[in-house]
Amino acid sequence: MKHETIHPPAAPGEGLRLHTVTVKKVIWETDDTFTLQIDLGAMGETFSFLPGQFNMLYVFGLGEAAISISSDASQGGMLAHTIHRVGTVTTGLAQMKRGDVIGLRGPFGSAWPITAARGKDVCIVAGGIGLAPLRPVMYAMLRERTAFERIILLYGARSPLDLLYRVELEEWAKEHNVEVLVTVDRGDSSWKGYIGVVTSLFSYIKLDARATVGYVCGPETMMKYTIDEMERRGLAEDQIYLSMERNMKCAVGFCGHCQYGPEFICKDGPVFTLPRIRHLLDKKEL
């Protein structure tokens, strides 16, 4: 059975209209990555999103950044974005405090097709900040834990200090029957977990290829290696979904920056089925 990604309809005119929203809490996850919890205020009554979608966040006078939503889609009114401080706008966002106001428009893009995974095993592979857009998927599945069979999370980060959501990772493993395997590229003598690339974690789990759906998000090279590994273990390409990233300015398919071959990542993606884009993955400087 073929499953496509989900493309929620746009609220008319909403894609271009910037709303003001308030910062409720700032949580520093690592020394360069933080989560903004946002109170949507009046907008909360009509705003809803699906896991995989993103918003454009605006800092007064600095500009916008496209950031994946990383909160629970069932929690109306409260939104969270995990952001890597790496440029002008994200540095501006990093300076926000409780009560500060930012601009927001969205949600945009395609969503992870969670219905495709019902009754099956789910293997989520996240690299670095790639875990942020996948967290809403985990929340959605854990709300209906029995609708899914095994839930496996393979997560790789640069070092133990770069791990996101450590408390939740433990909670998912201990209380929600999720198989969580975490690896880092480099550890110190206090790290007793795995050390090595995230794909090496596949040797420690046994996948039932026919009944597994894969969701992958992280640096492109890591995703390519992960796909190779999944296919080596027998997953069919139409069981694998990935989230792509490109420079975004408008989020609505007008500015042309996010084009990846013929795909506009902002509206045809960011979540794609593997068959749709695999011919593009190997192209250098596409």
Binding site: S203, Y204, T221
Partner: protein
């Protein structure tokens, strides 16, 4: 009784998948069951390398001491993996430390014993070498990916 159990155990390990019964007989003569408690050292950097391990359960961290940076752990191996091939290549010395970060059960294979058997039976030798080449290739690929340091971002990026 002990030998039969060992054969069964060896048969289950991915490294030896498909090994003929005859070659298994050759191998078993060099094999023994081992167990290491958490924190125990399997390998000491600089010492003579004479063992390779087929890890059954647990996790081993490869560690080296970097001047001024302290001990850095660069890799772990776990169930189904292989640890150590310095016994194959002269001058037969270990280049790193290996510690059990969780209790380890493994099959230890005597390097010198195996080397002699490889020299005596070239077919067996070829089997061992081709399996090791495969492991080394996969390990090199993974190490290259680690070197890419994919999770960092370049300075001066736009947004």
């Amino acid at each position: 009784m002990q030998t039969e159990n060992l054969t069964e155990i060896l048969r289950q390990h991915p490294f030896l998948a498909g090994l003929s019964d005859a070659h298994m007989e050759v191998l078993i003569g060099c094999a023994s069951n081992v167990r290491y408690a958490e924190g125990a050292r399997l390998i000491q950097e600089g010492e003579i390398a004479n063992t390779f391990y087929l890890i059954r359960t647990g996790r081993v961290a490869l560690e080296t001491d970097v001047n001024a940076r302290g001990k850095i752990r660069i890799q772990t191996v776990g169930p189904g993996d292989v640890l150590g091939w310095s016994w194959l290549i002269s001058p037969f010395r270990w280049h790193f430390n290996a510690l059990a970060v969780a209790e380890v059960r493994a099959v230890a294979l005597d390097g010198e014993c195996l080397r002699k058997k490889c020299e005596k039976d070239h077919d067996f030798g070829y089997e061992m070498l081709s399996r090791f080449s495969h492991i080394m290739e996969r390990r090199l690929e993974a190490t290259r990916m680690q070197l890419l340091d994919l999770y960092t971002t370049s300075p001066g990026a736009h947004v």
